[in-house]
Symmetry: C2
Subunit: 480 residues, 2 copies
């Protein structure tokens, strides 16, 4: 008995959790129940039943099939169903008119042939990717209705009242569905897509921060080794949301495009821009996966080497994740973000990382003479490194300009490099053992790569803000 009761408890709990996770699910289930009860009144109340008769069945069917979780999905299905039924009805009527005058045998042949042709045509049309995406259900309903009408008209004498009643009941069903999904506690696909995008940005931010803090966690010896596993969970949870987002992004955007706009500012809300942003974020996410791969890799740089770059690396990661969080909060509040604020600190952090990497090899020389030489070189180097770091960051910015200006910038860069290189290659450096430094180099390169891709993300978010006419950026709004 105890076993059964614990089983029951866990069973009930799992169902409770489904509702807990997203309370809108419970609301939606109640809505479906209410809609079905409403529609079954068509049968139960005598006066209503007399008007519609057994065709009331079609209203029940419509409610069951059309009422979906979000308003966009319901609209999409409902309109598809409506148009499909209408088209099929008129086509069947046309064929009926043509076949009317012929004999019974010829008519049977004719109906059979048209059923085959339409069946073939509709099935073939459904393979077209564009139609599959938007109108798959409509074509299905068209095929279904056409068959039902043309076949049953073969036995029925007068098909017009049948078609009229059926259309009428389907309209009632659709009406109830639209009322339930658009007016009673509506769930908007567009809002889902919006908050999903915000959560993706935040997930990436926490993932990157956690990644870097684990990579350098050997350094802080204050006993927080226990939660490494938990942090790794955080990392993969952060980017997992992004990686497999393609299909959910696309279907949400599709449904959202069916929804009436609920913004005052723009005529057509740019849902496709969310999909584009999602693509860029996915590519950003691949870098995060590779960064995570650096943690898991078997060949690791020694902690002492990592310690040298701890500061700048954490700085860059923090800046990147701060930018992502800023973008997320600006999206969340429907405000534009200020790109100047975003790039400034990151610039500084990249510069620090760059100079740390450049100044580092000298730290491995332990003789006094070399160290002073190194100090001298570092001073030299800092002055040199400054513009060079700028070119690094500038390169990211120039990427965009490159697309417009062609290769004119390249010649500038080719000119800039020879000035730097001789200065540095003259300095004799004791390098790290290369294949040990390799993993760290990969880690650093991925961080830099991430900063580069960040630019693309910012670009897409700005484009989104522009297209959706978000509110202008204001200084005091940044504190959220």
């Amino acid at each position: 008995v105890r076993k059964i009761s614990t089983f029951c408890a866990s069973f009930l709990k799992s169902w409770y959790l489904i509702g807990r996770e997203d309370p809108r699910r419970v609301v939606h289930a109640v809505k479906v129940g209410v809609a079905l009860t409403l529609v079954s009144f068509l049968y139960i109340f005598q006066p209503l039943f007399e008007g519609l008769g057994k065709n009331a069945m079609w209203a029940v069917m419509t409610v069951v099939v059309v009422l979906e979780f979000t308003a966009g999905a319901t609209l999409c299905k409902g309109l598809n169903r409506g148009f499909g039924t209408l088209c099929a009805g008129s086509l069947a009527f046309l064929i009926e008119v043509v076949a009317e005058k012929s004999g019974k045998t010829f008519r049977g042949f004719f109906v059979g042939a048209s059923v085959f042709t339409i069946g073939f045509g509709c099935t073939y049309v459904r393979f077209h990717s564009k139609i599959k995406r938007n109108y798959d259900y409509g074509v299905l309903v068209f095929l279904l209705t056409f068959n039902l009408i043309s076949v049953s008209s073969f036995r029925e004498e007068n098909v017009v009242p049948l078609a009229r009643d059926r259309l009428c009941t389907i309209a009632i069903g659709c009406g109830i569905c639209l009322f339930m999904s658009l007016i009673v506690f509506p769930n908007w696909s567009g809002e889902d897509l919006h908050s999903y995008t915000v959560r993706k940005l935040e997930g990436l931010a926490t993932s990157i921060e956690a990644c870097v803090s684990i990579y350098f966690h050997d350094e802080d010896k204050d006993g927080n080794i226990v939660d490494v596993k938990a942090t790794k969970e955080v990392i993969s949870n952060g980017y997992r949301l992004v990686l497999d987002s393609k299909s959910s992004d696309e279907s949400l955007a599709l449904f959202a495009s069916w929804e009436p706009r609920h913004s005052r500012h723009c005529y057509k809300y740019p849902w496709q821009q969310y999909v584009k942003l999602g693509t860029v974020l996915r590519h950003f996410g691949y870098t995060a996966v590779s960064l995570h791969g650096c943690l898991e890799s078997e060949i690791q740089t020694t902690p002492s080497v990592r310690a040298l770059f701890r500061g700048p690396c954490i700085q860059v990661a923090n800046e990147v994740s701060k930018v992502l969080l800023d973008l997320a909060s600006s999206l969340r509040t429907h405000r534009r973000c200020s790109p100047d604020v975003l790039s400034d600190h990151l610039h500084q952090a990249l510069h620090d990382l760059n100079s740390a990497i450049r100044s580092q090899p000298r730290l491995f020389l332990n003789s006094k003479k070399n160290r002073s030489a190194a100090k001298h070189a570092t001073n030299n180097n800092l002055m040199v490194a400054l513009p060079s770091a700028k070119t690094d960051v500038a390169a990211l910015v120039e990427k965009r300009n490159n697309n417009i200006n062609g290769n004119t910038n390249n010649s500038n860069k080719v000119k800039a490099q020879p000035v730097l290189r001789p200065t540095l290659s003259k300095i004799a450096m004791l390098s790290l053992e290369f294949s040990e430094a390799l993993p760290f180099a990969a880690f650093a390169a991925l961080l830099v790569e991430m900063a580069a891709r960040l630019e693309l993300v910012i670009e897409e978010v700005e484009e989104l803000a522009r297209q959706a006419s978000f509110k202008e950026y204001e200084e005091e709004d940044l504190v959220s």
Copy 2:
């Protein structure tokens, strides 16, 4: 007129291409047409119509809704539909028995309440991820049928013959669908999944090879700059197939699990193992994306530096892609692959890359004295590098053992490293300018990472071969 005709031509061509791309689509469309014509005979032929009457409509509906492209999908939908209808019918019958004796008003109330409860329950149940995946359609049909029966039984006196006829027609419809999808030119989801997995492996192989050949293409000055863009297409096409494969993998595996097995050797074909392999391949693909990112990155290593590592890098990439192609061909022919053959050359290539990286810094010294020292060091180094490269590759293999043996290997490695490092750190090397070498280091690290992940891919393919009892590996079969 010309405009219209060109439009028509391009329109027809686009439809022709859909069929050309996969001729099974045309066959499927014909099958649907034939099935619909068959089912409409139920109406057209007098004797058949007299037996079934207007319930023949349900057969038409079943065929339209259930007949899907692959056998697995049709079976899944058909069985779901059958069970859903049966369960709903019996439940509605039970409720009917309970409500029979009460008055009309109470009965109406009772039916309304049960409709609400079942509607709420079914909708809520559909949010359960496991049920959503496997039985979503069944629950929908259950809800639909229950509503139709319980509501129409309110008006109908004797509900049993109605239910019987309806079940009978649905069975006829399902029978036609199953005949069409299982016997007439069947398309198996399992085979699709299988060939899709093979194509993913091949795509990754070509992608990696193209990536490396572009990275080093500056070196061969024989005028093949033109097809860089085409090659980039090849790269992204190669891995794009892998990246967004999650949902298609899962649905194919789901449908495949409904299909009757068509292999003699094993009882339950391990379709879920294909999904697992897909996950590993996706993670492998993320590395390929990062590798591609190295090509696109703004900060690039100079061609002269790259030229130094051209040989070994191309070697490693070729070996990796060769292994992938071997895996693909072994999958395709349902044979086991030999893991020894796969690892040997890769081992050698990784070793070459490692020693190239280690020996490289000395090449930048141009003075004679240093060069001879470098030569001496290289000789020394080669002997040292041999075991160290082994540890690199051994590390990949040990990864698996680590999971089992815990951290016992770590102590070995800690012991092994100090022996190598002093030897090498004594040699003064002139390093590259670090932030220029960084991109190349990332490239090399990604290649090594790829080799590490390859081990996981091989593991999953082997597991798949074991579970699906592929034929044993034979030497002569490798030439395919």
